[in-house]
């Protein structure tokens, strides 16, 4: 297993950032989702050994997160969320420098730096000073430094932040290409749900420091069936009765009701309740659940 953690607790003073998080992640691309303050970055920092958990423990790539941090970091790549670079250096020197710090021989690090800069599309500007880079170029450079030492596991913290649509598409293509290698696992933390949906097959959702859900995206989406309907008549009682059946209902701006219906219940029940409440269902269609719907359902936000 690449990441195996059990009962991780971490607090910033009195604020609990993580409470009893356990994960068991193997290969492929994994999305790490959660609203602001959910504990995503804290979890990545614990996995990298920047922070030591107050309670619990685990292993990354088979190495203990408390005692074998340098070994973990040798085989892990990290793309931080913030802008970060070393002023005065050009992209080749910067990337090879960080390759060397990872333990690569100097010549090899330089050769590999050229390769990864070509790979992320910075071949033309690799001798330019980093201070002159645009945010999109800096984002690519951060990806280049994360993969220069050919890690087995890559943590990407908000990899598409600050990118225009083209830049975003290109970075996502690179991530998909990297994660398609069966021996590299990618953990992507992002607020942009379509990015996660596009690149990941597995998702971990954190909420208020706790594990809210985890699993294959396709399987998680099947937890509830989503129906869209338009009704005529006084819908208050109808909606109340649906909610009483532990069914989540949202109303869109167009007046369409989105009903998350438990799959173990018969959907005919919806029509029966509608008939009893004397309202007409004018439009009824089974809809595809998106990751956004799933996120809203699990985290409890619209």
């Amino acid at each position: 297993m690449s990441i195996e953690i059990k009962d991780i607790h971490f607090s910033y003073g009195k604020i609990k950032a993580l409470e009893g998080v356990s994960l068991d992640l193997s290969q492929g691309a994994v999305g790490l989702l959660g609203p602001n303050g959910a504990g995503k970055s804290t979890l990545i920092r614990i996995l990298l050994g920047f922070l030591s958990p107050d309670k619990g423990g685990g292993r990354v790539l088979g190495y203990d997160i408390k005692d074998e941090q340098p070994k973990i970091r040798r085989y892990v790549g990290y793309m931080p969320e913030d802008d970060c670079f070393i002023p005065g250096l050009d992209a080749v020197s910067f990337t090879s420098y960080l390759g060397e710090l990872s333990g690569m021989p100097r010549q090899e690090a330089m050769k590999r730096a050229h390769e990864v800069l070509y790979y992320v599309g910075l071949e033309e500007s690799r001798y330019r000073k980093l201070e002159t880079y645009s945010s999109g170029m800096k984002q690519r450079l951060k990806l280049a430094q994360a993969i220069v030492h050919d890690p087995k596991l890559i943590f990407l913290d908000e990899p598409t932040t600050g990118l225009d649509p083209n830049g975003r598409r290109e970075i996502l293509e690179l991530i998909m290409d990297i994660s398609s290698k069966k021996d590299i696992q990618v953990l992507i933390s992002s607020h942009i749900l379509p990015d996660i949906e596009l690149t990941c097959s597995y998702v971990v959702i954190l909420n208020k420091g706790k594990l809210a859900a985890q699993g294959d995206i396709s399987e998680l989406k099947e937890i509830r069936d989503l129906y869209e309907m338009k009704v005529k008549g006084e819908a208050g009682g109808f909606l109340r009765r649906l909610k009483d059946m532990k069914c989540k209902v949202e109303e869109t701006e167009e007046g369409i009701f989105k009903v998350y219906w438990p799959p173990d219940q018969d959907r005919q029940e919806i029509f029966r309740i509608a008939a009893e409440e004397k309202i007409q269902i004018r439009h009824f269609v089974k809809s595809e659940t998106s990751l956004e719907d799933l996120f809203a359902e699990v985290v409890g936000v619209d």
Partner: protein
């Protein structure tokens, strides 16, 4: 087919366990310092006192060729441990060291703080110790160019110019003094610069602090000395403490009438304090509790 079209490719090399994992940090630190235009001028200028003192050593062995230098000047040209002490501890030389430290040390940590690059260092298999060693070695490298290396060259050249081992036999401990004081003065300035560099993200402010605190400590000492006539106030002055310890190490009378060990303890205390501050300030991630 370009690499981009081929897709991601693995690196087929092997990691090496480096004996000095901090060396790349030092190498790049030195490279970045040399890229500063003004430093390219400052470093050769800082070697002028060494050239002057080396010339003095040569002339001391050829006084008969320089009859106009006899008299009071010949007193200065008596090569003994005091000659070395004067080179290492004169106010001007310490000022040059301060300038070098400002150029090579002010940005060492402050730039990393400003550009969030600490997380890049600490996401690699580096320990805090390696990071500090790498940064310290940059300052050590430049200060040794104007302390340890000239000191040892003076000693060797004295033996070469005199053509005998008499000087070595008279002062066999002098090389150790040169090495010892070079390490003390370099170690102190390294901790001093790194401490101040870790306190701000603004490299210019750090440079002002490095210069200002050094000068201010001296001004405070001079004010108190003129007011209270006590040599103990020399403990406030960084310059005076370095001169006091230097004089003792070179076996000379100390310039201030207080035990040299007090000055040494003051310098050591600053280094220990700097160590604690650096440990708490430099982290892979900023944790606001």
């Amino acid at each position: 087919m370009t690499i981009k079209e081929k897709g991601y490719s693995h690196w087929d090399g092997e990691f090496i366990v480096k004996k000095f994992p901090w060396w790349p940090i030092t190498r790049y630190g030195i490279k970045l310092t040399f890229m500063r235009k003004l430093f390219k001028f400052t470093l050769p200028m800082s070697l002028l006192p060494a050239v002057f003192f080396l010339t003095g050593i040569y002339i001391s062995e050829r006084l008969e060729d320089f009859p106009f230098l006899r008299g009071e000047t010949s007193q200065f040209l008596q090569i003994n441990p005091n000659y070395f002490k004067v080179y290492f501890t004169q106010g001007f030389m310490l000022f040059i060291m301060l300038m070098i430290v400002i150029f090579c040390g002010a940005s060492l940590i402050s730039d990393d703080l400003k550009h969030n690059s600490l997380q890049l260092y600490f996401s690699r298999p580096l320990k805090k110790k390696d990071y500090f060693l790498g940064k310290t070695a940059v300052i050590v490298f430049f200060l040794f160019i104007i302390t340890l290396i000239p000191g040892l060259v003076f000693f060797i050249m004295k033996l070469v110019f005199s053509g005998s081992l008499k000087f070595f036999i008279s002062y066999p401990w002098l090389p150790l003094s040169i090495i010892g004081y070079s390490f003390i003065v370099t170690g102190f300035f390294s901790f001093y610069a790194l401490l101040l560099s870790s306190l701000s993200k603004n490299r210019r402010l750090v440079a002002i602090l490095i210069f200002g605190i050094y000068m201010l400590s001296d001004i405070i000492y001079l004010i108190f000395r003129s007011e209270f006539r006590s040599h103990y106030f020399s403990l406030v002055s960084l310059r005076a403490n370095l001169q006091q310890v230097g004089a003792h190490i070179f076996g000379q009378k100390t310039p201030y009438d207080i035990p040299w060990i007090f000055s040494f303890l003051v310098l050591l205390g600053i280094c220990v304090f700097a160590g604690f501050v650096l440990k708490s300030k430099v982290k892979g991630v900023e944790v606001v509790k």
